[in-house]
Amino acid sequence: MWFRNRSYAAEWRTMNRKRALKCDTFCGKRGRSGAAEPLPAAAGGGGVAAGDRGDRVGGALDIKASLEHIMSLLPGKLWSDTVPRIALKHQLYSLHRDRTRVDRHLNELREQGDVLMFQLGFDSESVAVVFAADFKAKVLAAEVGRATQGPVEKFLNTVLASCCDMSVDETKMLQEFLFADSEITQLVKCGVLTVKDAGSWWLSIPNSGRFTKYFIQGRKAVLGMIRKSKYSEMLKSDLEGRQTTSRVKFHIQYHIHDIVGAELVDCIETTAGVLLRFADS
């Protein structure tokens, strides 16, 4: 018999209790999966103790810890010293259930100047997150000895320090920050600014082209693995255990967080674990 009259209120209350329990085991899962490094004990403990509902004092620290965890999934040997470690904002959604809270804490971190956010360009919704200190160090290291070092240092000290935006336009650069046209050209040349339209520029991560290429290749390959399997679905644990082709240069967990957070696959809870089903839309 097909019961259609649902009691959504009753189910919501029982589900609410179930979710509170799941939170405790969730932090444990992070430790088990793949090459995840152990999270700093303070943030991990704070996360479990306080429960997931409502604002927590350690909320922003928790987001920071998740960002570090995601960045640790990037391979060490492939990563040259010129590119900072990049995480994508929607990867955080796969680690934390409440998206609005994640957004809010990330904005707090951004306002404090700990993280920087960039529009990556291949997707209007993908936003890259890097730690500010890491970014500045890598950019300066790449610029040592080159002619563009001066303007880049000036840029890092003035523009990044004061405004938290993802793009700047001409009037702002010329008047507020007193850059000359030639300096702006040099900034574009070394990759810190990318053209958006006439007279405005996106802030960007220099030398991030290789990252974007590998990222898109890897995402396509992982999605292809799921799509080719029977019924276009796979258990997450199976996917983690699969041998990846040479197209996938990053750790597969990085791509799993990406596709789950961007909702390119549906996560379905089953008795055998989480099932990832390709969402075609």
Binding site: W2, F3, R4, N5, R6, S7, Y8, A9, A10, E11, W12, R13, T14, M15, Y93, R97, D98, R99, T100, V102, D103, R104, Q119, S124, C163, D165, M166, S167, V168, D169, K196, D197, S200, E263, S281
Partner: protein, 342 residues
């Protein structure tokens, strides 16, 4: 309850549950069927009761007409003819001083028809695409929100001749976050659903970019509540509902063949209501019964009824009659009982 179908038929149901059973079927009280002379020729898009009593209702359809019906005789008292397909209409639920019906059609101009005089008296210009949804504010009788395929949502004060009050901007006026094409848009695709919350202070909009956004109506600010991906493939307007009378407001949004229930202010997906066999097109919430009604392509209208939880029992003296602590959905309850009394 008033409902309009894709075959042009309008049916009125009696929602009262006269049988004491937990599962019941609502009977149709009267219909304007295919045999009626005045029936709509094409799909009925929007139906609405006259806000002050049930003596009259208004229906608009893809046959480019909007008809004002007398419920008793089921004959149209007034027919408004339009040049293009009518996507939606609404009459203000709280209006005392005016009886304007806002109509959204394929034409970018929003038309305001007056019920008293029987003609279209005002046109709101500003949109650049088809108007998929119009909604009056439940707080101020002159404020109207319209959503269009040009990705923008505009708020109008109909007393003002000069144009819309403001356009909702998803980036809150921050030029740095958007590309130039996306500036001043509410969504990155067509905006096809609008719903005010019960107090009229917030507006929910859904778009074909698979996002739902919550806005403050007073300022037009995007509250940045993140609901995740709200699957939306509707080419016409999407009709969804927000609960009224609950302390935590819920939005009921049709997503594919189920109805998604979101907590409005926190953005969390509470549950998915599965029961339809095909796409769900519309949802409506009854504030007095606190029930949700959803209609879909499978020709079914389903009623979703919340089961109240029995009060928590402090002490359990007799375990036989104690009752369970966990709320049991009556649909899954055992009808068999070993005791003599039911």
């Amino acid at each position: 309850m008033l409902s309009g179908g894709a075959d042009g038929v309008v049916v009125i149901y009696d929602l009262e549950n006269h049988s004491r059973k937990p599962h019941y079927t609502c009977k149709a009280v009267c219909t304007v069927g295919r045999s009626s002379r005045h029936v709509h020729k094409f799909s009925v898009e929007t139906v609405q009761w006259y806000p002050h009593d049930t003596g009259m209702f208004i229906s608009s359809s893809f046959d480019k007409t909007m008809k004002v019906w007398d419920t008793e005789t089921l004959k149209p008292a007034e027919i408004f003819q339009f040049v293009e397909n009518v996507y939606c209409h609404q009459m203000s639920p709280i209006a005392r001083k005016h009886s304007l019906i806002a109509v959204g059609t394929k034409n970018p101009k929003v038309q305001l028809c007056d019920l008293k005089s029987g003609s279209c008296i005002q046109v709101l210009q500003g949109h650049r695409g088809e108007v998929l949804s119009v909604k009056w504010s439940p707080r101020y009788e002159y404020i109207l929100a319209t959503a269009s395929t040009d990705s923008s949502v505009r708020l109008w004060d109909v007393r003002r001749a000069s144009g819309s009050l403001f356009t909702l901007d998803q980036f809150n006026g921050d030029p740095s976050k958007s590309s130039s094409e996306a500036a001043n848009t509410a969504h990155n695709g067509r905006v096809n659903g609008l719903c005010f919350t019960g107090d009229g202070l917030f507006l929910l909009t859904t778009g074909t970019d698979d996002r739902m956004r919550l806005w403050e109506t007073a300022t037009g600010k995007n509250t940045l509540v993140n609901y995740g991906k709200v699957v939306n493939e509707s080419r016409k307007g999407l009709k969804f509902a927000v609960s009224q009378g609950c302390s935590l407001e819920f939005a009921f949004v049709p997503c594919g063949s189920s109805v998604a229930v979101y907590a409005v202010h926190s953005g969390e997906l509470v549950t998915m209501l599965k029961g339809h066999y095909s796409n769900v097109d519309c949802c409506e919430f009854h504030p007095d019964y606190q029930e949700l009604y959803s209609g879909g392509k499978d020709s079914n209208i389903l009623a979703w009824i919340p089961t109240p939880r029995p009060p928590d029992i402090e002490e359990e003296q007799d375990s036989k009659k104690g009752g369970s602590q966990v709320a049991l959905n009556p649909a899954f309850e055992d009808a068999w009982s070993s005791s003599d009394e039911d």
